[in-house]
């Protein structure tokens, strides 16, 4: 099993995958007749060169932290939740209901209330596929895909027929009241004497997202439930044998995952648009897949992968503005990242493992190959570990 040291597994494999994806992306840019280096320079300047750029980068990153964590938590139980998009849509519906129909006295209370509603609706939207998987054996991937489409249709229906203010042609809800306005980074940093762009949408949800990373880390590696989730993900029969209920773990994991995806709505719906619009999620639910894969399902990894994708998103928007490269370049990069870090993982890992084996062979002479004559305590142990 452990052919490679841990650092190679955690850092080297994803890094090489990422480099491959970057290389191919550069080739794509070359192929459409643009200069990749100039493109990267422009992206860096546009996304990180000003507090305005940073504000957008961090805003997108906040979305991706939530959806990335959602996918990552499910991955730990070996469940693949593709439904982040639909769950985030329902989260937006929850925020809109809470913000429009409850008179909040202050934004702090509104943030808690809207966050609970967002998480609740997201969790419900994930719990149904979870229940179908646990009780009826329907594959969670297929049902969550179906639920994305059902969520889109539901949202369309609600916005057109229920929430649209009278007289408005736009399929969108009314504006949220002033009391639920979340402080932006500009308003948060101004008292500290730091000047931050006024028009950038990054807001206090960023801190909630960072806190969510810590909570997820505690949950997965420091609680009994997290242990059970990981055990179930490693080996379902073994977990079952140890008295862990598959139904319970599947349900609980999907509920946590859906709640995290739903929580994204406090950033994009409550923090940015301040009303519910069609397609508010803008594909962030799917980017969560790339983020979780790149972050190796670890909250720290997810955090940095989300920052990277936030940078790519904002940088891509700048590219589309100033060059002839369309925004879809980011979709291509996203696809390549998913392909190399997720699906073609073994393409990188297999040669690397061979490489490590080659350099390792001379070190322990009496290892697995000729372990028959009097195995030493060391080799015996290593065999037991495998």
């Amino acid at each position: 099993m452990d052919v490679m040291p841990k650092w190679a597994e955690v850092i080297l494999v994803p890094l090489i995958s990422l480099l491959l994806a970057a290389l191919l992306s550069a080739l794509v840019i070359l192929a459409i007749g643009e200069d990749p280096i100039a493109a990267v320079t422009l992206m860096v300047k546009g996304a990180l060169g000003s507090t305005y750029g940073w504000g957008y980068t961090l805003y997108y990153a906040t979305n991706f932290i939530f959806t990335g964590l959602a996918v990552a938590v499910a991955f730990h139980a070996r469940l693949f939740n593709i439904g982040g998009e639909g769950q985030a849509m329902l989260g937006g519906l929850g925020v809109a209901i809470a913000a429009l129909y409850i008179p909040w006295p202050h934004w702090t209370l509104a943030l808690i209330g809207c966050g609970v509603m967002a998480g609740l609706l997201g969790a419900i939207w994930a719990a149904i596929p979870g229940w179908l998987q646990a009780k009826r054996g329907s594959h969670v991937v297929i049902t969550t895909i179906m639920f994305n489409f059902i969520a889109a249709a539901l949202l369309n229906y609600v916005l057109v027929n229920v929430m649209r203010p009278p007289g408005s042609m736009d399929p969108a809800s009314a504006r949220f009241p002033e009391a639920v306005h979340l402080p932006t980074l500009h308003e948060l940093l101004a008292p500290l004497g730091i000047a931050f762009s006024k028009s950038a949408p990054a807001n206090i949800s960023l801190l909630v997202a960072a806190a969510a990373c810590i909570v997820v880390w505690l949950l997965i590696w420091r609680t009994r439930l997290g242990y059970e989730i990981r055990a179930y993900g490693h080996s379902q029969p073994a977990a079952k044998y140890a008295g862990i209920s598959p139904v319970r773990i599947t349900m609980v994991t999907m509920i946590i995952s859906g709640a995290l995806a739903g929580l994204m709505a406090i950033n994009n719906v409550m923090g940015e648009s301040e009303r519910l619009v069609l397609n508010a999620t803008e594909g962030a639910g799917f980017i969560g897949i790339a983020v979780a894969l790149m972050g190796r399902s670890h909250p720290v990894g997810v955090f940095f992968a989300a920052l990277l994708f936030g940078f790519l998103y904002q940088g891509g928007a700048e590219l589309a503005l100033w060059t002839s490269i369309p925004r879809e370049l980011i979709v291509v990069i996203q696809a390549l990242v998913i392909l190399f870090t997720g699906a073609l993982d073994n393409m990188v890992r297999m040669p690397l493992e061979r490489l490590f084996l080659m350099f390792r062979r001379p070190a322990p002479p009496a290892n697995s190959a000729d372990s028959e004559p009097k195995p030493g305590p060391r080799s015996g142990q290593s065999e037991g570990a495998e």
Binding site: S138, T143, M146, F147, Y157, V331, A343
Partner: protein, 322 residues
């Protein structure tokens, strides 16, 4: 609702069901061989773009079709490489292929044509024209059968007839040939096939290639027959509806025909809300109709209306030695 309206409705049902049927059969081959394919959508989209692009450049729809199939096959090769050779996660590979197609088509379209991610409109020989079957005009005035023959059966493009012929062909290949038997076996118990001395990898690649071919035709139909040119994201979730139809059909060719026709009917009804209102007397929201295929699939998946049992080795890469 009068007779002519019914015929028109069924006519557009057939048009809308064709790409679903082709993609559904593509998924059928792939999943019967044990390779899950949620990249149907992306392969269709890529094929739609390349067939429209090449048809527009060369003026020949057949070259377009070939280019569409080639692009879909290329994506199939990526899927095969990831899920068969490198034993990666088939679902993640499918997700990646969908995004790759969604991004690349717009990127290349912008580079080649600079029209905001679309191809120029196709006309003349760059499109699949409707075929008028023999005696269609002569029979048009015959009551009942005349309109049926002239409107519904005649007057489709050749790809529609090809799609419907693909159903018995698929059935024959899967259930009456040695290749089909092996293909189904490799989706149920690859170890047994391997023990019999037949290549699991070869069979799975063959199945994935057939899926690529069918998705290529489906995509070409979208942009060169159903519509005249490529627009961004024109597959519009059809690959996922095809996936739903595949489950609805319980991985069987003839059921796939009925399932896709049913989902095609929903699509046709979505554009004719007046027809629904006149038949059942209630106004049905378009959003409910667009969600119906997905809702029905979830109900079927849940096993409340008959059980859908997927091929047993589906989604699992085959490892020769443990």
């Amino acid at each position: 609702m009068d007779y002519i309206t019914l015929i028109q409705l069924l006519d557009s049902t057939v048009r809308l069901a064709t790409p679903l049927l082709l993609a559904c059969l593509a998924g059928l081959f792939s999943e019967r061989a044990g390779v899950f394919d949620i990249g149907l959508e992306g392969k269709m989209l890529a094929a739609a773009f390349f067939s429209a692009a090449l048809a527009s450049i060369t003026g020949s729809v057949w070259i377009g079709l070939a280019a569409g199939i080639a692009s879909s096959l290329a994506l199939s090769a990526v899927h095969g490489l990831a899920s068969i050779t490198f034993r990666g996660n088939q679902l993640i590979s499918g997700v990646a292929i969908n995004f790759l197609a969604a991004g690349m088509t717009v990127l290349i379209a912008q580079d080649w044509f600079a029209q905001g991610g679309r191809t120029p409109s196709l006309f003349g020989g760059a499109r699949f024209e409707p075929i008028t079957l023999p005696f269609a005009d002569a029979m048009a005035n015959v009551p009942i059968i005349g309109p049926l023959y002239e409107e519904l059966i005649s007057g489709h493009s050749i790809l529609v007839y090809a799609a419907f012929l693909a159903v018995p062909l698929t059935w024959w290949i899967l259930f009456r040939t040695r290749f089909g038997l092996r293909l189904r076996a490799v989706g149920e118990n690859p170890a047994a096939v391997d023990t019999a001395g037949v290549s699991v990898v070869g069979l799975r690649y063959a199945a994935v290639a057939i899926a690529g071919l069918l998705c290529g035709v489906a995509g070409a139909y979208l942009s060169t027959a159903l519509q005249a040119g490529f627009v961004k994201d024109m597959s519009a979730g059809r690959g996922f509806i095809a996936l739903a139809a595949l489950i609805f059909a319980k991985w069987r060719p003839w059921y796939a025909l009925w399932a896709t026709l049913l989902f095609g009917l929903f699509g046709a009804l979505e554009t004719r809300p007046d027809v629904i209102q006149s038949v059942i007397g209630i106004k049905v929201q378009g959003q409910i109709l667009s969600a119906l295929p997905y809702l029905m699939t979830v109900v079927i998946l849940a096993g409340f209306v008959g059980k859908a049992i997927p091929p047993r080795a589906g989604g699992e890469p085959y490892v020769k030695e443990r």
